[in-house]
């Protein structure tokens, strides 16, 4: 939107800008805190938590990596993220396309069944989910974690895809049909590539969501060798509390790095406005 006010200096604008900068600082400063501590020894931290570190020490990173086996946790989490993406994005894209381009009374019913899923709290079904994964022999496995995770993400992304496909000109699909492409050809060769921005956003946010998941992992994963990153970090927090902040900061920085890097690369897709398609009815 262009500026509402003219080029003249406007006190209101200055005030609002200052407030916005203040809020942004409030968001970002706590995230930077761990960097104050991470290069210090425990002793140095307890005497001078606020000073700049005397030297850049990487010990805490190395110790954190070893003591909580972050490497293993990271690998598990990557598998969970990829699984969640593979099981969330394609079903959502396909369903969203149907709801956008093949509307009928029957598909509308299915649309509302999927839409309603967005409002179902996963907490409600944790017990049956766990019992089911036991009977499917998927308890304490990574697929046992990412399959339900994906199922609970499909609703949201179906809505995003639906509204995205609706915003694409219908003539394109029609032209492709005239050229003799079948329904699948039209979807896979013409429409799906055009939905690129929605797909990038979905892959990005599903990855970040799966990476950050805590509750479902806590329920579904029991054995240390299958622990995800977040379980490791939380385990570490429980074991040491706030007493070993330097090392804990190292673990936190390692575990947050991939999402932050990904967000830094992809944030313009998040801000592009595709999210406006959520729940547009």
């Amino acid at each position: 939107m262009r500026q509402l006010h003219g080029p003249r200096v406007d006190l209101g604008a200055i005030l609002i800008t200052t407030v916005l900068v203040g809020f942004a600082l409030a968001v970002i400063v706590p995230l930077v805190l761990p960097f104050f501590f991470v290069f210090k020894t425990r002793l140095e931290y307890s005497y001078n938590p606020w000073s700049l570190p005397k030297a850049i020490r990487w010990d805490n990173f190395i110790q954190a990596w070893k003591s909580v086996q972050i490497g293993r946790g990271m690998l598990n989490t990557f598998i969970v993220c990829l699984g969640a993406i593979a099981c969330t994005v394609p079903p959502a894209a396909m369903a969203g396309y149907i709801f956008a381009r093949y509307r009928s009374r029957v598909t509308e019913v299915f649309f509302y069944i999927i839409l309603a899923g967005y409002f179902v709290p996963i907490q409600m079904v944790l017990l049956p989910l766990y019992k089911m994964s036991v009977s499917f022999h998927m308890a304490d496995t990574l697929p046992g974690l990412f399959l339900p995770m994906a199922a609970f993400g499909i609703s949201f992304w179906t809505m995003i895809y639906r509204s995205f496909f609706r915003s694409l000109p219908g003539e394109l699909a029609e032209a492709s049909r005239i050229d003799g492409a079948g329904h699948p050809g039209t979807f896979f060769r013409i429409m799906l590539p055009l939905a690129g921005p929605a797909t990038v956003l979905a892959v990005l946010l599903v990855f970040i969501g799966a990476w950050s998941d805590y509750l479902l992992s806590l329920i579904m994963i029991n054995s240390q060798s299958h622990f995800t990153m977040q379980l490791r970090v939380a385990q570490f927090l429980n074991a040491y509390g706030v007493d070993n902040m330097p090392r804990y900061s190292a673990a936190a920085i390692i575990s947050a790095a991939p999402t932050v890097i990904l967000y830094t690369i992809g944030h313009r897709w998040v801000l592009k406005g595709t999210l406006a398609g959520a729940l547009k009815g």
Binding site: M1, L4, T17, V19, L20, V21, A24, V27, I28, P30, L31, L33, P34, S46, P49, W50, P91, M94, T107, I113, G117, F119, P121, Q123, M124, V125, L126, L127, L129, M132, V134, L147, A150, A151, F152, I154, I178, G182, H183, S212, Y214, L215, M229, Q230, V233, A234, L237, V242, M245, A252, S255, T259, V260, H267, R268, V270, L271, L275, A276, G281
Partner: protein, 311 residues
């Protein structure tokens, strides 16, 4: 002209073919199948199971016996559960009262006062939102902890002993608010980005017309923009309410629901009942309460008024 007619004929033929087309039906069915199957297996069937379990006396994975409403009676006579219910509603109330207007304010300001300074801020507001809760909880403890916390250290530095003495995590009347502040910090990113996206879809003519009428600044926000995003705001209110019913990560990681029951939420109670005490029946009953509350809120919000103006 002749080309146009021919194109029209072809188009009609295509459309006619679409109607009695078996391939079309098969295509629709196959395209919907993965999503429907996933939701059926992992959402709708487990919902049915939760209801079923909540009427059972059941511990562990063994056989269960029908128990009528005993689990519910147990819950509603249980202090912990009542505390959890209260916290959840308080949380929802304050979220809608504080986080929603805050999101509107930030989203509107970012759009209406776009300049060189505010433009790059957009990306920052979403940043805390993508942080794993294991980390945001840690940072929360970090700030509020009485022994090693940032606030306490800061208070000592400037000799505000009263502030240094305040135990935000250990004091039952403050722990809730400490967690709420952390939640506001980390959860407000999505509402801001969502509202911003919806505001940017408001047609230019409306904004320009408003400007010609002389509507500016906060009058403009109140009279023009707010009504246009009333529907997304209601959706966010629903989501915040459901979010409070689901609340688990932050209070669990920061306080384990303590001190006492001061920060117990329905999510924590469900987890403790189901996965610590192995009381499946009463845990399922908590799940049913969560579900019914979110159902009631969702339906109430959506039936309150029509669909919204942007659709």
């Amino acid at each position: 002209m002749a080309d146009l007619v021919r194109a029209g004929v072809v188009l009609q033929r295509v459309r006619r073919r679409q109607n009695g087309d078996v391939g079309r039906v098969v295509f629709i069915a196959l395209m919907l199948l993965p999503a429907i199957a996933a939701l059926g297996v992992y959402m709708y069937y487990p919902i049915e199971q939760t209801f079923h379990l909540s009427f059972m006396r059941s511990a562990g994975l063994g056989e269960a016996a029908f128990n009528g409403l005993e689990n519910y009676k147990f819950l509603f006579s249980n202090d912990e559960f009542r505390a959890g219910l209260l916290h959840v509603f308080l949380w929802a109330f304050w979220s809608v009262l504080i986080q929603l207007p805050l999101s509107f304010f930030v989203a509107f300001s970012l759009i209406a006062y776009r300049n060189k300074v505010t433009q790059p801020l957009r990306a920052i507001y979403f940043l805390a939102n993508i942080m794993p809760s294991a980390i945001t909880a840690m940072i929360g403890l970090f700030i509020f902890s009485n022994t090693n916390g940032v606030l306490a250290a800061f208070a000592r530095k400037i000799n505000w002993t009263w502030l240094g003495k305040v135990d935000f995590i250990g004091d039952p009347s403050l722990a809730f608010w400490a967690i709420f502040i952390v939640a506001t910090w980390t959860y407000t990113g999505f509402p801001i980005v969502y509202l911003m996206a919806r505001m940017e879809q408001i047609p230019m003519e409306i904004r320009e017309a408003a400007e010609l009428e002389g509507a500016r600044g906060w009058r403009y926000a109140w009279h023009i923009i707010l009504p246009m995003v009333a529907y997304p705001m209601r959706i966010l209110a629903v989501l915040m309410t459901i979010g409070s019913l689901k609340l688990f990560d932050l209070p669990y990681l920061m306080t384990r629901g303590g001190p006492g029951d001061a920060t117990k939420t329905l999510g924590i109670i469900l987890y403790n009942q189901g996965f610590v005490n192995w009381q499946y029946g009463s845990a399922a009953a908590v799940g049913v309460v969560i579900f019914l509350c979110s159902l009631v809120f969702t339906i109430a919000q959506f039936s309150w008024q029509g669909k919204g103006d942007l659709e």
